[in-house]
Assembly symmetry: C2
Homo-oligomer: 215 residues x 2
DNA sequence: ATAGATGGAGAGTAGAACTATCCGCAGTGG
DNA sequence: CCACTGCGGATAGTTCTACTCTCCATCTAT
């Protein structure tokens, strides 16, 4: 198929498709003559993935390019792809090093040791957690620090199930794509479901702590 | 104190402080003469809150303004503030209405009914969840849909504890600020901790499913 | 043969978040 | 008293991102 059809089938403008081609988010089509090309189903699929990561996952074009490069490099391990995805999702936080940061780092290290988690020192999540805890301390709020253990306890079995669901896939391409989607869309899904659960819990509390509405 | 000191104590440039004043993120200082003003501790605190929401929470300047306006309007209820915060955090997703969206909506409604959650139809999280589920279906992945119940089951007690921790605060100002910080920074914290848990779970699985590293 | 895509490249645009420059007045040290 | 640095307020300029537009020399279908 040609750009016009690719555009029609994905809802992405031809101009944007050309832009994504230039930026390397989309592989070039197969040449049919020196200056004509044709695109296949894999382009449709890839383009939809790109839009999902950008629109729903909130990744930048550059971040998406990096993630997809990791997905395409089929010689790298799954954890590499996940690392790239997490980098794109969490961004590069500014490295400050004050008292609050140090205390936050210690708090997290203790937690990791206590629960026996196996995380590498370069895990992008680690930096992000430390920064958030430090920020929260600087603002004088202890709500998050107080809930840290609860978060870890809750997320541990959840993460196990997520990883289990992803590796259950048959071929590598599928595993990798599921991992990326699960990481990016899953984060959004959890965040959004959490706000729903907040409203529900808050309504419950306000109405006298009677869990189900009727029955 | 005057801008220079406010700038020094918060690490925000004078130019940015002026910008935030113009945009209404920061209330004007107290006039000491027709064209001089002085700022207090509350400005320091507010400015730090602004930077936390923007830098760590990833909110836009406009979103931050809206959230702070809700925080300041002390006649509105807590759930109003939370609604504004969730709006700023989740953004306004494009309203598409195809088969996938409809199925996703049904899937979520069933879940809500099954668990007896009390969420209003206008909850911003609802739109976001539906959009993510629909996107995931369009991409042909069923990983998220399969985990939906697990997510809900996991988040329900977590949300209850979070709401409990927030309302345990004494005065309203404190409750509101904790709620905002808990929502925004908590989302980031969960997301980051989750990636750590993923790495840990993945390492566990790779090394033969022996949960703790040693012992 | 000709009207309408197409590929490729470069320039242009819109929005967000600052950042810089000006100007007239304020407060302060000498 | 007065030079001088700082301040507030307003406007204009900058940088970055993610497109979007315009060309033009083909190519393709009719």
């Amino acid at each position: 198929m040609r750009v016009a059809e690719l555009s029609r089938r994905t809802g992405v403008s031809v101009a944007s498709i050309k832009y994504y081609l230039r930026e390397g988010l989309l592989p070039p089509g197969e040449r049919t003559s020196p200056n004509q090309a044709s695109y296949g189903e894999e382009h449709v699929r890839r383009l939809r993935l790109v839009r999902a990561l950008i629109d729903v996952g909130g990744l930048s074009v550059a971040g998406t390019r990096d993630v997809l490069a990791a997905v395409d490099a089929d010689d790298v391990a799954l954890h590499h792809v996940l690392g790239a995805t997490q980098d794109a999702l969490l961004g590069e936080p500014a490295a400050t090093d004050d008292d609050a940061t140090e205390r936050a780092g210690k708090l997290l290290d203790d937690l990791v040791a206590r629960r026996g988690w196996r995380v590498t020192p370069t895990n992008p999540g680690r930096r992000a957690v430390v920064e958030i805890l430090a920020t929260s301390e600087r603002l004088g709020t202890d709500v998050l620090a107080g809930l840290l253990d609860t978060y870890a306890e809750t997320l541990e079995p959840l993460a196990r199930r997520e990883v289990g669901a992803v590796v259950a896939r048959s071929d590598r391409e599928d595993v990798v794509e599921s991992a990326v989607l699960g990481t990016v869309l899953g984060a959004g899904l959890i965040s959004a479901l959490r706000t729903m659960a907040h409203e529900s819990a808050s309504a419950e509390l306000a109405s006298g702590a009677a869990p189900p509405p009727e029955g």
